[in-house]
Amino acid sequence: MKRFTELIQQLETSNKTNDKIAALVSYFSTADEKDKPYVIAMFTGKRPRRPVTTALIREWAIELSAIPAWLFAECYHNVGDLSETIALVLPPANHTADRKLNEWITDLALLNGQEDSVKKEFILRAWDSMDTQERFIFNKLISGNFRIGISNKTLVNAIARQSNTDSNKIMHSIMGKWTPDQITYQELIDGAHVNTDNSWPYPFCLAYALDTEPANLGETTAWQAEWKWDGIRGQIVKRNGELFIWSRGEELVTEQFPELHFLRDELPDGTVIDGEILAVKDGNIQAFSILQQRLNRKTINKSQLKEAPVGFFCYDIMEVQGIDIRNETLSERRKKLVELMSLLTTRDIVVLSPAINFENWEQLIEIRKESRANNSEGVMLKKLNSLYHSGRKRGDWWKWKINPYTVDTVMIYAQKGSGRRANHFTDYTFAVRDGEKLITIAKAYSGLTDLEIKEVDSFVRRNGVEKFGPVRTVKPELVFEIAFEGIAESKRHKAGLALRFPRIARWRKDKNATEINTLEDLRQLLASTL
């Protein structure tokens, strides 16, 4: 496990993607053959079942380190990571062991279903053979939750470079169905398993945010404009009689959307389409907050199906009759997509996402202003001759979102962040005015520069009023403009409404707390979106 520990240290000490790729390439060139598939599985979120609960691990660590539970909690607040806290408080090891990563993972998996006493003996023995770094890694292995800022794309690029293979192929391969105990690194690179797998999706083609005037994009005739829908980007795969629905997050969500299951009968085999899952009622696209009622549920009941029915708006087609057509141009693919749509006998549920007709950029600018009215987030611009790329590529696809909603709020609580921000107050809670009271409306932790974070941090330290565990109540003085994408009713929040994707747009040093928005302002906004 020492080589893997070293890799993690290298990945953590640099902020540069190139350094990270170099570290990964070096790892895959030198590491134990059997370890490699496990590392790939871990970094792509393929988690084994957790063999021991967090509560037990925590309990044993507290017992072993002979400190009171409250003191352990204080440590955890300062470290911001449970695995690391445990690694740091345990007494020094009495043995050494040089076991391979895959051996540890295999042994951990065997703990499933064992008595707690067996688990405890194993974990304590393991801890007693490791230094702090190794213990940290080991604790992460137990949790299976290894987030160290390596995107799938970075990992894929590194493997592609190391093996001198096309990155699309690697992406397919690692996104398919496989388990690290039954595949070799070489088989993963070769994609040996994916041909027999009907479900594998293509990497989504993604767009960059438009950072210039549309006029700079040249002739309008070279471009297709579409609405940018505010739902869940999805990919529908039909092969050998099986239907699969993938979300952007590379999750299979087939069972969540029974409305789309008719495609199993109506789509020809060897078809893959890209589109947006949306809440659609009587032909009208609903706000994201309606769709949200349908997400992340294990079962869907009748009333949810009735209240928030979904539809699928098709953007693109990547596979026709089992043939990958991503290297054809958008206009060619679009023709095939239109053709496919005409084959469907069930109407109005899976439809073509319409292209926007426009003569010139000025006209499109006007049309874009109407985005909110049809619950879209803005406009997409795609080059008619663009191919369906894996991931992001500059220049071919642009998203041109309308500006978010904003509200002026005052900061009332602050909390220390976690991970990189564990020593600073970086998580803030914001309030709007409700008569004489301040009422919490959003929590946000992004959008400030490191310098601003330090400034707010020092304000919090000087102006903390009360302490509730890790949370500080602060004098309501600092005004922040919060940007958000939508607003929904919420029984869970005191304000009776919740903002979607709130983040700090800017620090309004020019305003004081008397000038912030009111709850009534937000209620009016909510009424106008329903």
């Binding site: 953590e12 000490t13 640099s14 902020n15 380190s65 400190i67 009171p68 409250w70 003191l71 204080e74 440590c75 300062n78 470290v79 911001g80 990571d81 690391e84 806290t85 740091l88 408080v89 976690s418 991970g419 990189r420 921000r421 564990a422 020593n423 600073h424 490191d450 330090k454």
Partner: protein, 335 residues
């Protein structure tokens, strides 16, 4: 009546009429060491260890009425017996022992237990009342032996040389810098920033034996620096000069580097948890060794640490002072 009290000017000994490490101007400031949070300008007179005097003069640049003492030598001020004991924090750092009518009180300033090779080793002093820092007063802070840490630093330097990178260690100019110099001295030349070189000159003049180092000037070629070890204070960590070096790799030497979040926040290329403060077990063993009936906890994880002490049967109080975070602030400025 208690021998010391905590006032808005600092720690006050009324019977003796002097303050220890005051943060507002007073007549006589007994100074534990020369870090900026323990030593302020503007006092009428100072009393400190003989090796702290060059630091004070260096920092202020003017001659001051500074009375010095060696360790373990007792003097009497207004009937209060005063002596200094090594605190092991930096060269010359002292614990201040006060005795009045059989009542003994020790103010330890900043201290560490492990001998660092250059500062006189910490010496526990039995007392009735002990004033202790708690900079790293959480059980997550337990240092590795310095031998192991220096092993890591040397390996890092070697790796950098192989990759044609310049090794730049970020270290506080008083204390950490001398400790690095002493422990890293060998075949590789050590280049130091002038703030460190000036302090070193003062120490050498006062009789401290320091290995040779080279003061960084504009005449020194970047290629030479790349082959050596460069030590600069935190304030320079992100400056223009740093960018002018040949692919610099920065390593921060600080106890805060113990935690990953600390390392990443400062976005250094490497972090070494090398501290001049006592770690968790160091604080506990030091406090127990004093056999004090009463312990006052200043700067650091004050409330957590005092709560724990009380739970294990040591009577401890939290004290609000203006010490602490000097090192952290310095590093932040450069981050």
């Amino acid at each position: 009546m208690a021998l010391i009290s905590f006032t808005n000017k600092g720690i006050f000994c009324k019977q003796g009429g002097f303050y220890i490490d005051p943060w507002q101007p007073v007549d006589l400031a007994v100074t534990t060491h020369g870090h900026a949070d323990h030593f302020k300008a503007g006092n009428k007179a100072y009393l400190c260890h003989e090796l702290t005097k060059p630091v004070l003069l260096q920092r202020l640049g003017i001659d001051l009425p500074v009375q010095t003492l060696p360790y373990n030598k007792e003097i009497t001020i207004n009937g209060v017996k005063l002596s200094l004991f090594p605190a092991g924090h930096v060269i010359g750092s002292s614990q201040v022992r006060l005795e009045y009518k059989g009542e003994i009180c020790v103010i330890s300033g900043d201290y560490k237990i492990e001998y660092d090779g250059i500062s006189t080793a910490f010496e526990p002093v039995k007392c009735h009342t002990f004033v202790s820092e708690s900079t790293f007063g959480l059980p997550i802070y337990n240092w590795q032996p310095q031998k192991e840490i220096f092993g890591k630093i040397r390996k890092w330097v070697t790796d950098n040389h192989l990759q044609s990178k310049t090794s730049v260690l970020i270290a506080y100019s008083l204390g950490k810098a001398q400790r690095l110099i002493k422990n890293l001295a060998g075949d590789t030349p050590i280049y130091v920033h002038q703030s460190i070189a000036n302090l070193n000159d003062g120490f050498i003049k006062a009789g401290v034996e320091l290995p040779p180092t080279i003061r960084i000037t504009s005449d020194i070629k970047k290629e030479e620096l790349q082959k050596g070890i460069v030590i600069v204070p935190p304030a320079l960590a992100d400056g223009k000069w740093m960018k002018s070096l040949m692919s610099a790799s920065t390593g921060i030497c600080s106890g805060w580097m113990q935690v990953r979040a600390g390392r990443r926040w400062k976005s250094a290329d490497a972090g070494f948890a090398l501290s001049d403060h006592a770690d968790w077990s160091g604080l506990l063993s030091a406090i127990k060794a004093t056999e004090a009936e009463k312990v006052f906890i200043t700067h650091g994880f004050v409330s957590t640490f005092s709560k724990y002490l009380n739970e294990i049967g040591i009577t401890a109080w939290e004290v609000n002072t203006q010490y602490g975070n000097e090192e952290e602030e310095e590093i932040l400025k450069g981050a």
